[in-house]
């Protein structure tokens, strides 16, 4: 009787251990435990390379340096607390940047700076001296005229030209 009890008990314990414990602990199988990968932020950041790529100040600094070492590229009041028209201004800005990038083909030395003062839209750009000045004047007049008709507000362009790319760092 006692012998049968103990044997039953041993069977029970082995069964229990097999059920309770994990299968792979006992059977000796290993597998990889993983969670979803958290990638590093890559927005507007240029990774360090060999050191032959010239970078302007604007390109070299990452976006978390805005308001610390960088300024803003578009100045308007829509993003302030209690002000309206955020999406409209943003869409306008995006359109203006693409428009000017296309009009002045490969002439832009740096990103555009768009300012809104009262009713006026002021576009400040830094350009290379690729075209003769007469062509520049024509394109500036054309841009101002077209954009002012499109946005129904006075548009002014302020251009400064530069011989070659203004380099801050080589990455």
């Amino acid at each position: 009787m006692a012998a049968s009890f103990s044997s039953q008990r041993r069977l029970l314990t082995t069964l229990c251990s097999q059920l309770n414990g994990a299968l792979w602990l006992n059977s000796g199988v290993r597998s990889i435990h993983s969670t979803a990968v958290c990638n590093k932020n890559r927005a507007a950041r240029i990774r360090v390379g060999k050191g032959d790529r010239p970078m302007t100040y604007e390109e070299a600094l990452p976006p978390h340096q805005i308001a610390h070492r960088k300024g803003w590229l578009s100045h308007h009041t829509s993003n302030l607390n209690g002000e309206h028209g955020t999406a409209d201004r943003t869409v306008e800005d995006a359109f203006i940047r693409r428009f000017i990038y296309g009009t002045f083909h490969r002439c832009l030395a740096n990103e555009l700076v768009i300012k809104r003062r009262g009713n006026m839209l002021i576009i400040s750009a830094l350009m290379f001296q690729k075209m003769p000045p007469r062509k520049y004047y024509f394109f500036i007049g054309y841009t101002e005229e077209l954009l002012s008709h499109f946005y129904k507000c006075p548009v002014k362009m302020e251009i400064q030209t530069v011989e070659e790319k203004v380099v801050y760092k080589y990455l």
Binding site: Y57, T77, E83, K115, R117, I122, K156, Q160, T161
Partner: protein, 209 residues
């Protein structure tokens, strides 16, 4: 008295214009929000400039008006303001600092009493968005928008002076800054409240008795 107040306002405007032409240039050059004039050789550019800059100069200066001919005298009395509050909002604290200096200097030159120049606490609006286009709910990105404030309070001004001051301040407001103006006017007590009613009532009772 009101007419003289109006003319005084216009005379102040002309004086302000004459005095500020030079000061505005200095203030404009000092403020970081103003774009660089095309001819200036900034630290970044090393080369000569092709373009003629006169066409593109927008300094925002106030032109001198011929004040001796255009002073208007109106008979109706000028409104009086007990308090004029100018609240300026912006993203950049340095620009706000320089604008506060500019506005307080303007008020001092015009002879206005600056009751209070304060800095209400900044407001930060934060957004937490998903980092990835599809799944990965645990990984998010946070953005924030900071709004800094400055409050300039001027007490006891007339309507024309307030108009002059505000117009000058607003013409030179930098881009990316918003302004809210609150005026507290002083009005005369209306006729029907001037004398208390109980004086008339007691007389009426006496006459009836």
């Amino acid at each position: 008295m009101a007419a003289s107040m109006r003319t005084a306002g216009a005379a102040l405007w002309s004086k302000a214009v004459r005095d500020f032409d030079s000061k505005a240039a200095a203030a404009a050059a000092a403020r970081p929000g103003v774009p660089p004039l095309p001819l200036q050789h900034s630290a970044l550019t090393r080369s000569s400039v092709y373009m003629v800059p006169a066409v593109f100069l927008h300094t925002g200066r106030v032109r001198q008006t011929q004040t001796s001919r255009s002073i208007t005298v109106i008979e109706e009395p000028d409104t009086l303001f007990q308090k004029l509050t100018v609240l300026v909002k912006g993203h950049d604290k340095a620009v706000l600092d320089s604008y506060e200096f500019f506005a307080s200097m303007t008020a001092k030159e015009l002879g206005l009493t600056l009751a209070k120049v304060s800095e209400p606490p900044k407001n930060i609006e934060r957004l937490t968005l998903l980092k990835s286009v599809h799944i990965f709910k645990k990984h998010r990105v946070q953005y924030e928008m900071r709004t800094h404030f400055r409050c300039i309070e001027i007490s006891k001004v007339t309507g024309s002076t307030a108009q002059v001051y505000l117009e000058y301040i607003q013409r030179n407001l930098p881009e990316g800054m918003a302004m809210e103006v609150t005026k507290t006017a002083i009005e005369k007590v209306p006729e029907h409240i001037r004398t208390p009613l109980w004086g008339d009532q007691s007389q009426a009772e006496k006459t009836s008795q």
